[in-house]
Symmetry: C2
Subunit: 105 residues, 2 copies
Amino acid sequence: GGGSESAHGYRAEGKASYYGSRHHGRRTASGERFDQHALTAAHRTLPFGTRVKVTNLNNDRTVVVRINDRGPHTRGRIIDLSHEAAERLGMLRAGVALVRVETID
Amino acid sequence: GGGSESAHGYRAEGKASYYGSRHHGRRTASGERFDQHALTAAHRTLPFGTRVKVTNLNNDRTVVVRINDRGPHTRGRIIDLSHEAAERLGMLRAGVALVRVETID
């Protein structure tokens, strides 16, 4: 997706989880194949291609990811991160972390 | 599932992948809630409750897991492991590993 359809001014706080390698190589909702080593994420509404900064509110680590899939499918979660993104946020062990998600301009 | 319905003598080699935390807390096909910190796995045919030894053929590390879900849904994979099991096998980074799966008596 092109940057022209990116959302601006979105900001939310909630729980993040991450994809396992069982998805690696499968198609995402955007049509791209899922790559667990890329910095991507699933969000329910943001346009594909939107880049968001995700902050782990437990340790203030941040990562920028590009939305290329739809989800999470679990109530109470706001974003599903790739394994690489989850690793950078230091949330692999815990599995679920409280994060802030905000679009970047 | 009880041990009385366990399969005996099953042995296969193929690729393993693992679940992400996006599944944590969701229902598995066996009715149990998925717990990424438990030693469990998804297999297409083995009865729920079957315990199998999984060997990472790249490094000879092993782990015993209990089948409590159905999958993998991706061609060419024979088992989906919990995050804890994948960590013990040293396959988190690679994501997919060649493994041997065998029932234990």
